[in-house]
């Protein structure tokens, strides 16, 4: 009987031993799998933002091209974009390390969640090309345009293929469908703001409903949903600093930017690049002047008069100097000094005029 009991204990002990050992081994492998899963997710996030960085580089330099990037693998993740103190930061919310970029002006919603990323770039000119603006959007980021201005048609034609832009006559026409976020862009003064949030969007999360209102020819206000009301985000109107005309990238950027702060921040990047670019153009101007100054006959001609500040009233040299001075004032305490940047427009227009005069003659060197 005693022998039987001992054997029973031995057999039970063996099974307990096997179970414990098995459980430990199983836990070990489960631990490895869990660890690998989190590492893979971190790697995926890092890879994705790295690929996005490359895509943005490509999209940023290939002017006026539209890129539709399939990100269906990231359908469950939220991409975020932000810009402060001249640095754009983007990545996957809560995963991996975000990318920081202090060169390229990227205009994007603050958050994105979709299967297709829409990228578009347009050159920013003041008056010569300064940098390419990259616009980021997605199919489920719906943009409603309201008002009667030729710019709406220009915008719709320029963004054909985006499939997220719609012209409406009234906010009551809004149908949220299965979109992720909504932006109302109004060119008629923003009367809908006083009526509160459109009923179709009343149940949507506050951070997914925004509005941009053009309050003048060159200024906008940004709004954000707060309960059933609109909350204005900017204290002073956000000025559009551009020379106007078709495909005005600074004007387009106001629509794609997440809010007033990211817009001004990205514009700051363009102005900083302009500062360095102006030095190169200043050197080119010196070489142009030397070219004409070597020959007294050339120096007496129209070309030199359009170039030198000793010549005609509208000339390249003084316009360039004026642009530089105004840019310095604009950047002295950026972004607080952002409103001073509007003064660059006049100087840039004069520079464009002087350059056009040179080009018109056909036998003159042009600055750009």
């Amino acid at each position: 009987m005693a022998v039987k009991k001992k054997a029973q204990i031995a057999v039970t002990f063996n099974w307990v031993y096997i179970l414990i050992a098995g459980a430990v081994i199983l836990l070990f492998f489960i631990g490895i799998v869990v660890k690998q899963k989190s590492i893979s997710e971190e790697n995926l996030a890092t890879d994705v933002v790295r690929v996005m960085e490359s895509i943005f580089t490509g999209a940023g330099v290939s002017e006026k091209t539209k890129n539709f990037v399939d990100i269906s693998g990231l359908a469950d993740y939220t991409l975020f974009f932000g810009c402060s103190e001249g640095v754009t930061e983007y990545g996957i919310s809560g995963k991996g390390k975000p990318v920081q970029n202090n060169i390229d002006p990227i205009f994007a919603p603050l958050e994105l969640k979709d299967t297709v990323l829409v990228l578009w770039s347009l050159p920013y000119k003041l008056p010569f090309k300064v940098i390419d603006f990259t616009f980021v959007s997605s199919r489920k980021s719906k943009i409603y345009l309201m008002g009667n201005t030729p710019f709406i048609n220009e915008f719709i034609n320029a963004t054909s293929g985006f499939d997220n832009i719609e012209k409406i006559n009234d906010v009551s026409e809004i149908d949220p469908a299965r979109n992720y976020q909504f932006k109302i862009v109004d060119f008629s003064g923003g009367q809908f703001i006083s009526q509160g949030i459109p009923s179709a969007l009343s149940d949507v999360d506050d951070n997914k409903v925004t509005a941009v209102v053009f309050t003048g020819q060159d200024q906008v206000d940004y709004y954000q949903k707060e309960g059933q009301m609109w909350k204005k985000k900017n204290k002073l109107p956000v000025r559009i600093i551009s020379l106007g005309g078709e495909r005005d990238s600074a004007r387009f950027a106001t629509i794609f930017a997440g809010d007033d702060k990211t817009y001004v921040c990205s514009m700051g990047k363009a102005f900083l690049r302009l500062r360095y670019l102006l030095e190169v153009y200043q050197s080119k101007l010196t070489e142009m002047k030397e070219f004409y100054e070597t020959d007294p006959q050339l120096m007496a001609g129209d070309c030199y008069n359009y170039i030198s500040d000793q010549g005609y009233e509208v000339n390249v040299e003084s316009s360039l100097r004026s642009l530089k001075n105004r840019l310095d004032a604009c950047l002295v305490n950026f972004p607080i000094s952002y409103d001073y940047c509007t003064e660059m427009v006049g100087a840039a227009e004069k520079l464009r005029e002087a350059n056009a005069n040179l080009a018109e003659r056909g036998d003159c060197l042009t600055l750009y």
Binding site: E53, T57, I103, K129, I131, E279, C303, A359, D363, C364
Partner: protein, 178 residues
């Protein structure tokens, strides 16, 4: 009789113990092999990833250089000329790049060397940007690998004639360090 019965049992128990130890030993050896294999694989994968990243950086930097407004050819409000550098800008761009290297251009080109080799009409070399990874504390150079990429470009020089610009050609070399 009892003693005779106990001896084989003890031996059997000893054998079982040795068997368990042998199994455990082999198990741990296998685990060790697995860890060594994984470690080696990780090392190789890391090197491959580094090379891939270096290649991608070389391509990105080349792309940026080809579309740099500081050197590209422009024609008023018209589209800029593709793969064309304006010599009147090119000759001075390096001064600006050098002046603002830490403030701005390092963020654009990182550790790299960028130069334009003129092939026709002259053979001048224009170094646009040069930032090597600093030497290590022991005096050895800070980089292991250099990935060069080449791209043919036209070189427009208006300083020779205002009416018809002179077009030369050359190639831009972008070397990125890792």
């Amino acid at each position: 009789m009892k003693k005779k019965n106990l001896c084989p049992r003890k031996r059997k128990g000893q054998m079982q113990m040795t068997e368990t130890i042998a199994v455990l030993f082999i198990f741990f050896i296998l685990i060790l092999f697995g860890i060594m294999f994984y470690y080696k694989y990780q090392g190789v994968a890391f090197k491959e990833k580094q090379e891939e990243l270096l290649g991608a950086r070389a391509m990105d930097t080349t792309l940026k250089v080809l579309f740099l407004p500081e050197i590209s050819c422009t024609k008023g409000e018209a589209e800029p000329e593709d793969n064309c550098f304006d010599m009147m800008k090119l000759r001075h761009a390096n001064e600006t790049f050098k002046k603002y290297i830490t403030k701005y251009y390092f963020n654009l080109f990182s550790y790299s060397r960028i130069y334009v080799q003129e092939v026709y009409p002259e053979q001048t070399q224009y170094i646009l940007y040069d930032k090597e990874i600093p030497f290590l504390e022991d005096g050895t150079k800070g980089w292991e690998k250099k990935e060069p990429t080449f791209f043919t470009v036209t070189l427009k020089d208006e300083s020779k004639s205002a009416i018809i610009p002179h077009y030369g050609f050359g190639y831009v070399v972008v070397e990125v360090y890792s």
